[in-house]
């Protein structure tokens, strides 16, 4: 996200960034607490890994990654997502963005690792790699069989391995338990990961030990308020990287020694352990 000439910079100065009215075309129930909202109108400048600021009018505005070029997949976790779940097809929301850098899309042999709702941005990424007929392997982690997301979608375009915390499907335990000899029978040109903080920290350490960090890209989540890289609520230590604009996608090496998986900040800016 940037502009390279003075002319581009001048043009950017006149551009308004206000919520755009977007009609919900279709709502798909993924499981009890997760739904995908498809948009009527195409958004500009979409890319896997980018996110939008979703304004539920009268409630609040929250950042959500794209799960398709024209959709977001949302987990019901609080007041704003609860209100979003009450909307029906034909209702509209306000959308600012897409914002953020998006994934660096490259390589022939691709490994995707997603935990929980973190699998959502990887689906859009897999679709883009799938169109290019790349060799994709996907590891999906979930709490249980009921909460597992996008198994069918990934099976269409990739080899899929599953783990569940309760062992109700696939391997028991976290996605880390799947990173065994079988997965690494082949070499990967690029590895993409998104999921809970603890999982990301474990993956950072794991790939660091394997000396593969330069082949890893991570999608991070923090409290994003402005989305434009100026308020500072999403900055991560120790480099002060802005998740909303320098990210949300970072190469492993950029964040190995960061706060990721150790602590994050709440809405007030106070640190809390993860």
């Amino acid at each position: 996200m940037g502009w390279h000439t003075e002319k581009e910079k001048e043009k950017e100065k006149d551009r308004e960034i206000l919520p755009k009215d977007v009609v919900i075309k279709r709502i798909k129930r993924e499981n009890k607490d997760v739904r995908t909202f498809f948009f009527e109108d195409a958004l500009l400048d979409v890319r896997p890994g980018r996110y939008v600021m979703v304004w539920v009018r009268g409630i609040d505005e929250i950042p959500i990654s794209l799960s398709h070029k024209d959709a977001i997949t949302v987990e019901r976790v609080g007041k704003t997502t609860e209100s979003l779940f009450k909307l029906k097809e034909g209702d509209s929301i306000g959308i600012r963005g897409p914002f953020g850098n998006g994934f660096d899309i490259k390589g022939e042999n691709i490994l995707l690792i997603g935990g929980g709702i973190g699998i959502a941005p990887l689906l859009y990424l897999a679709e883009v790699f799938g169109e290019k007929k790349k060799d994709i392997t996907t590891l999906i982690g979930s709490r249980s069989r009921e909460t597992l997301l996008f198994l069918k979608e990934f099976e269409k375009i990739s080899k899929v391995f599953v783990s569940t915390d309760d062992g109700s499907l696939g391997k028991k335990g976290s996605v880390l338990n799947m990173l065994d000899a079988e997965i690494f029978k082949q070499e990967y040109d690029m590895i993409y990961a998104c999921g809970p903080e603890k999982m990301l920290r474990s993956l950072l350490e794991f790939f660091n030990e394997k000396d593969l960090l330069e082949k890893t890209q991570f999608s991070l989540s923090r409290i994003i308020k402005c989305g434009l890289g100026i308020c500072g609520s999403c900055c991560i230590d120790p480099k002060g990287l802005r998740v909303c604009r320098d990210g949300p996608i970072f190469y492993g090496g950029e964040i190995l020694n960061s706060e990721v998986g150790r602590y994050e900040r709440d809405h007030t800016g106070r640190r809390r352990k993860v």
């Binding site: 006149d14 308004e16 505005e61 308020k225 100026i230 500072g232 800016g269």
Partner: protein, 303 residues
Amino acid sequence: MGIKISGIELENPLILASGILGSTGSSLNRIARTGAGAVVSKSIGMESREGYEGPVLLKVDCGFLNALGLPNPSYKNFIEELEDFDRYCPLIISVFGSSSSEFVEVAEDLEDYADAFELNLSCPHVEGYGMEIGRDLTFVEDITREFKRSISRPTWVKLTPNVGEITEIGLAAEKGGADAVVAINTVKGLRIDVESGYPLLGNVYGGLSGRCIKPIGLAAVYSLYKKLKIPIIGVGGIEDYRDVLEYLMAGARCIEIGSALYYDLEIFKEIDSDLKRHLEENSLEMEDIIGLAHRKRKRKRKR
């Protein structure tokens, strides 16, 4: 091009404005390394605040409209961020409160970390704070006086432009013992979503910043310079070195930059070198420029 203001030596007159990338020690370190002469923290208060519901920031055609709502972790929890700040340049801590005792209580615990304090008497969108007290001459004078009595660091008072006569507020701050005034904070504004009729900001009202407010900031600085003896820090819509020159000529001794960091995170380095080059090429010193517009006017009047 070093400059001294309220007893602090700055390597250049360009300061990071409050509210921009100033809520963590590491982001302040990052901006310090881009060449800022000093950095101002996010406004810190007695109790933690989550801030307003979104949207909290809109980019409008001529600038930005924000209503973050003074989110901060409280002064007690801000100390761990201050511990991370590595003092690459001076740090000014912005403080907000609803009474002089609140301002003092917050600052007492942060004094060791601050090269100066900036009293936020000007945030335009939080009830009971900022502009609501910053519009009242007696409050401004009393809060400044009480603050100076208890806190030994230089004290800057940030003024709201949302008043009839900003110079009266500036004079009240000066009477209270302020070491400098900062002008201006954002201008009260509002936008509406025409599809739905909802106000676009979660808080309805917000503060307008960016290049559209530059003439308002310049007018404030120019009129304050005529009335005040203490130095003025100019802020509002500065995007390049020519904007800085305008503020200096209007009477500012230093300037703050906020919104323009959206366009370029490296803006301090750029403006600093442009400004140095300009002064060199024209064989000028900072002191020749500061308040120049006033001296030109005087000469004209004498004729």
